[in-house]
């Protein structure tokens, strides 16, 4: 690659250089370049189909990239599986599968248990502890579908927590989450950031973005803007991002 490389200040710095994602001759995302330092909370905003989920999946290694590089520290992020925790959109999870809340949180420990081995007692304790921290103590034995939407999101956050990740990716995390659950949720995200974990969340909820995110990434098949929330959250940039489809206070 000939793209200039930003100086790396930490082994946890996330750097995208000229990332391109798509099938055939069409690209869902082209020429995405930005760098995120550890502990930032980045909001991904843009119109539906503008590539928010696609970018998260590319960072997670779920989707392959056509060109460019995604690095965590000095190394390609795909060679560091397990460092990225992913909280998927609701539709991507099989809610009928017979797993309890605790089983779901334990999945965060799978990678460190390794192939063929079940999570042990220490893992179970950590999972129970994570549920407790997110206000779900004592109900870990219930089936995942018995919880409300907000509680389910907290269970997935607990799962991300026990994975000890460098980066947490959240895809539309506020879908079906009520106000009370949002408070717990914000607290958990700030906890991640305080402990040096980078958070990236794709959302269409612009209120949430201004309330939580330290940085904004405006996507519409290309990078419209990237920077501190206060600088990027302007009527001009939002209009450019959403192509005038969002009415903005002037």
């Amino acid at each position: 690659m000939t793209t200039p490389v930003a100086p790396l200040s930490s082994p946890r710095t996330l750097a995208l250089e000229g990332v391109r994602v798509g099938y055939g001759s069409t690209f869902q995302l082209s020429d995405i370049t930005f760098t995120v330092q550890p502990g930032e909370i980045v909001g991904l905003i843009g119109p539906n189909g503008g590539g928010k989920s696609t970018l998260l999946k590319a960072i997670a290694g779920v989707l392959g990239i056509r060109s460019g590089r995604i690095r965590l520290g000095a190394d390609d992020i795909r060679r560091q599986a397990g460092k990225v925790a992913f909280v998927p959109q609701r539709e991507e999870v099989n809610w009928d599968f017979p797993v309890t809340a605790l089983d779901v949180v334990l999945m965060g420990r799978y990678r460190s248990s390794g192939w063929f081995r079940r999570p042990g007692r220490a893992d179970r304790n950590r999972a129970a502890e994570a549920l407790e921290r997110l206000g779900l103590a004592g109900i870990g034995h219930r089936h995942i579908s018995e919880f409300s939407g907000g509680q389910q999101q907290r269970i997935f956050l607990a799962r991300a927590m026990v994975q000890d990740p460098a980066i947490v990716l959240l895809d539309e995390p506020f879908t079906g989450v009520d106000a009370q659950n949002r408070i717990v949720f914000h607290e958990a995200i700030r906890d991640f950031a305080r402990s040096g974990i980078t958070v990236l969340m794709a959302t269409h909820d612009l209120d949430e973005v201004t309330a939580t995110c330290t940085q904004l990434c405006c996507l519409n098949h290309r990078l419209v803007a990237f920077g501190p929330t206060a600088e990027v959250f302007t009527p001009e940039i939002l209009r450019a991002t959403f192509e005038g489809r969002v009415a903005v206070f002037a």
Binding site: A60, E92, W95, M107, F116, P119, S145, E146, G176, V246
Partner: protein, 301 residues
Amino acid sequence: MFDTFTEPLSYAFMQRALLEIIIVGTVCGLVGCFVVLRGLAFIGDALAHTVFPGVVLSYIAGKSIIIGAFAFGALTAVGIGILSRSRRVSNDSAVGVLFAAFFAVGVVLISRQTGFKRDLGSLLFGNVLGVTRGDVIATLIIGAIVVALLMLLLKEFTLVAFDATMARALGYPVFLLDLALLLLVAATIVVSLQTVGNILILALIVTPPATARLMTDRLGRMMLISAGIAVASGVVGLYASYYGDIAAGGTIVLAATAFFLVSLVAAPNHGVVAGIIQRRRGRHHVHHFHPAAEEVEAHHH
């Protein structure tokens, strides 16, 4: 009463049949859980049919049907895996095309053979009373391997079934794991062919796990209950077949269906009766949450 159970066992063929059905029931009950939970019933049906030409070829060559059947089962598993990855053909169509094509090859092969017609019935509908000592040993060995692999990969299969996106993000080879699961289903079908035949095999793989799912919300318990029901159906069906002089494949599957119907009505949480009671008490279970109902679009007016 006790004699009713022991008397048939004085025959060696019944002892072998009982042993065979217990092994087959256990394997089908366990592997079938993932067939049901992943919604692979149609693929399972396809696999049961695509092994048919392999069975016919083995017969013609005078070799064990296990080898031929597994070769074709594996071929199908790989074929489905690869075809479903392509974006040109939908998953269902890919499976349907393979399913019909392979079965047709079997039909063509069979029609070229004379003196084969008599055995066709036992191929399609099974002949558990005709299993040999060698068959039972082969079933035991393959069955043990299948169950061992399922248990070794249980954690990975669970993750892929529940949240494939996370599995990919964690770097698991999801395509290979799916292929491994299909191969386990193919092997399960192969060892069960002689018991219930390739038309009814699907019932032994789908019905007991579906029954068990109604009774519990835990994977471990579901697998145990499913294996138990499959074995019980096999044993009940075998005796019904012995005393009623009916084809065992039919009685075994009907026994499994009976278990399913009872469970559908009477299961503790998901049964029809439990549902009525819960509604009467006004207990509201938050099952199948619909995000669309609460979703609020970002409006900035």
